[in-house]
């Protein structure tokens, strides 16, 4: 067991990928000598060289489009999009090319491309640096979408994402980058497409992912002091979602609250609410509730504490569900 930050865990995970897979590449803006603006690729350029750690021109469509070409040539690119709000120039290459070329080819072509995207708010950033665009990609067949919530998951999930043959959008919660956690680098690999029960409980189920897993866990800890026994589930994968643990939990508790930073409208939480209603209708004691960002553009940073789901809003939703 080693204690490390999520940034370090991702860095170590990438290092193992590069060591184990000679065809893997890291590419993106400032990922080389600088080590990335968050230092996730720190030191990789020095150790693996500019042939494998590639500083690209400043053009996101170009990053994804050329990564597709490199994958067609047999390489396994791991791309970095510098910030969530900068991914949109690459939208066509992600949703119409990367996601669809394998299907278009009739399964004859596979594109093992990982796209890392630091996402979410809570760091006092300027506009376009705090967004949660995961629903766009989870809505697109052909992409897998995952997000890590802690250093141990980060370490293993980035390796699994880079080992599979499907394209993976890999969201990294940037406000958790510097949070430390235990990482067992020798442990058997977890499955990044399986949800993880963070805390077991019987009263209600909190469903979260990425940056809101910590919010939900803190809410559950606070609720425990009031005698409420909340279960917390970390989805890990947003596409495909690992449904069975959610169904099992909600059938037990009868109450579900979904927590994410992205706006609620047509979001991941809406899909979860719909599926829980379809599958757990007779177990539910209350409608599935959502605690999410509001349906507005991400606000100026001095307002983000009021925008982001926090402990109080989560507990309020739990109370509403239980009183229903």
């Amino acid at each position: 067991m080693t204690t490390m930050t999520m940034v370090k865990a991702l860095n170590e995970g990438l290092r193992r990928v590069l060591e184990d897979q000679p065809k893997s590449l890291v590419m993106g803006e400032d990922v080389g000598r600088l080590g990335g603006v968050f230092r996730v690729t720190d030191g990789l350029h020095k150790d693996f060289g500019s042939d494998r750690i590639i500083d690209t021109p400043l053009a996101e469509s170009g990053i994804i489009g050329t990564a597709i070409g490199l994958a067609l040539r047999g390489y396994r690119p791991i791309c970095e999009i510098q910030f969530d709000g900068f991914v949109y120039p690459a939208f066509d290459q992600l949703v119409s090319q990367l996601a669809k070329i394998p299907n278009r080819s009739g399964g004859r072509v596979r594109l093992p491309v990982v796209v890392r995207i630091p996402f979410g708010g809570g760091i006092g950033a300027i506009e376009h640096h705090s967004e949660s665009p995961e629903a766009y990609f989870a809505h697109t067949a052909g992409l897998k979408v995952v997000t890590c919530s802690n250093p141990a998951d980060a370490y293993w999930m980035i390796q699994q994402a880079a080992t599979g043959d499907d394209p993976v959008i890999f969201f990294e919660p940037k406000r958790r980058y510097q949070a430390k956690g235990e990482v067992d680098t020798a442990a058997a690999e977890l499955d990044l497409y399986r949800a993880r029960t963070v805390r077991e409980g019987r009263t209600a189920t909190l469903i979260a992912y990425g940056p809101t897993v910590d919010v939900a866990a803190n809410a559950a800890a606070a609720a425990a002091e009031e005698g409420l026994d909340l279960e917390v589930i970390d989805l890990r994968a947003l596409s495909p979602i690992d449904w069975e643990p959610l169904f099992a939990s909600v059938r037990r508790t009868g109450h579900a609250v979904v927590v994410h930073e992205a706006p609620g409208n047509i979001g991941v939480g809406a899909e979860i609410a719909a599926r829980l209603t379809e599958e757990c209708f007779y177990s539910l004691e209350a409608p599935v509730l959502r605690v999410t960002g509001y349906d507005v553009p991400y606000p100026a940073s001095r307002l983000e504490d009021d925008y982001l789901p926090n402990l109080d809003r989560v507990l309020d939703a739990v109370d509403r569900s239980l009183e229903y």
Partner: protein, 384 residues
């Protein structure tokens, strides 16, 4: 068929024109009248068989393409994007490729596909709607058609980076990559990003622009003030303008660009100046935006007419040779037509099967649900 003055509105102001012919100053080895001319930088000396082979390719490509239009008109294809008029650009460049080279087409490259020796059926299946155009694109070294304009230029730029990484450039036997696109594509961000990528990574890429004068209805004047071959220079990428209706010139110019790439000397852009004789696709009505006089002007520059004249004048082809090619083309058309008509609707399950390398359980469940539902309808119809 004589040359009429070219309508001025079709030419970007910055394109230099020869005072004597009113044609752009492009590389030309064969005039519209079928006269062989010399160029200081480009030459071509093929064997008699190769010269005759180019004629065969041109005629067969034209006939197979015409069959695409016919099949669409008969309701057998949903759409067909004709290449009529662009045969020389495609055959000249396609025949300049070496076996180890890789092609990224747009969606009108039936002639290149033919020259590459790749089964054409996939392109017809795509437009028939029986599949999405999939083939063994890696083995064919001819990638899938790209419908989103210019998206393929980045795929080619990335692939070419990979070729260089593999150390497959630097000799006369090196690998080169060619990507086909049109004049409209030059306005897309992806095209310009591809030029930047190919330039800064010195990739073995040839961007082959078929400037057929139209992006559906819009002329060059709405796409650029400076023609693509000159814009390339701004990216540090050499550009050359070639008569796209001259199969010898497109062959010579493309071969030089490919050889430069395979030697490790970097990317370049070839602008083939040609004309789309048909509407954009069978769904388009070109009479809304161009007139008969303009079509007549370009009929006078037909790529096959001039080449046939030259072959005749050189004693490389006589009437029996030309007739034999026509017969062969007719047979190929009949064979292809039969194969297209035999393409049946795919199974419902096929839409689910290739989305992921590892099918998620959620898609497996939907697949089963769709098949069960279909089966239940069939059972129901038996009852009735």
């Amino acid at each position: 068929m004589g040359d009429q003055p070219r309508p001025a509105k079709k030419t970007a102001k910055s394109r230099p024109k020869s005072a004597s012919t009113n044609e752009p100053e492009f590389v030309q080895l064969l005039t519209p009248e079928g006269r062989r001319v010399n160029h200081p930088d480009y030459d071509l000396n093929l064997s008699d068989e190769e010269y005759r082979g180019l004629y065969r390719d041109l005629v067969i490509t034209r006939e197979l393409d015409a069959q695409g239009t016919a099949l669409q008109r008969q309701g057998q294809l949903g759409l067909w994007p004709s290449l009529l008029g662009q045969e020389a650009a495609q055959i000249g460049s396609g025949r300049a490729l070496k076996p180890q080279d890789t092609v990224f087409p747009a969606y009108r490259e039936l002639g290149v596909q033919w020259a590459r020796g790749v089964d054409l059926l996939s392109s017809f299946a795509l437009f028939r709607g029986t599949d999405l155009g999939g083939r063994d694109v890696i083995g064919d070294r001819f990638h899938m058609y790209a419908i989103v304009i210019a998206s393929q230029t980045l795929h080619a730029a990335g692939y070419a980076m990979g070729v260089a990484k593999d150390g497959a450039v630097g000799t006369e036997d090196g690998e080169a990559v060619i990507v086909y696109h049109g004049d409209g594509a030059t306005s897309e961000g992806d095209f310009n990003e591809a030029l930047i990528w190919a330039g800064v990574f010195n990739s073995p890429l040839v961007l082959f622009c078929q400037n057929n004068q139209y992006a559906i209805s819009e002329t060059n004047a709405r796409q650029f003030r400076l023609p693509p071959y000159r814009r390339a220079e701004g990216f540090g990428v050499p550009g050359v303008l070639v008569d796209g209706n001259d199969v010898l010139a497109t062959y010579a110019v493309t071969r030089a660009a490919l050889d430069r790439a395979r030697r490790g000397e970097g990317p370049s852009l070839v602008e083939a100046y040609t004309y789309r004789m048909q509407p954009h696709t069978t769904s388009d009505d070109a009479t809304r935006y161009r007139d008969e006089a303009e079509l007549d002007f370009w009929r006078g520059k037909d790529p096959i007419v001039r080449y046939r004249k030259w072959l005749s004048s050189q004693g490389l082809g006589d009437e029996s040779f030309f007739a034999a090619i026509d017969t062969e083309a007719g047979e190929l058309v009949r064979e292809l037509r039969a194969r297209v008509m035999a393409l049946t609707d795919p199974e419902v399950s096929e839409m689910f099967d290739n989305v992921y390398a590892e099918m998620p359980s959620s898609i497996a469940a939907q697949r089963a649900e769709a098949l069960d539902f279909q089966a239940s309808l069939e059972e129901g119809s038996d009852v009735r």
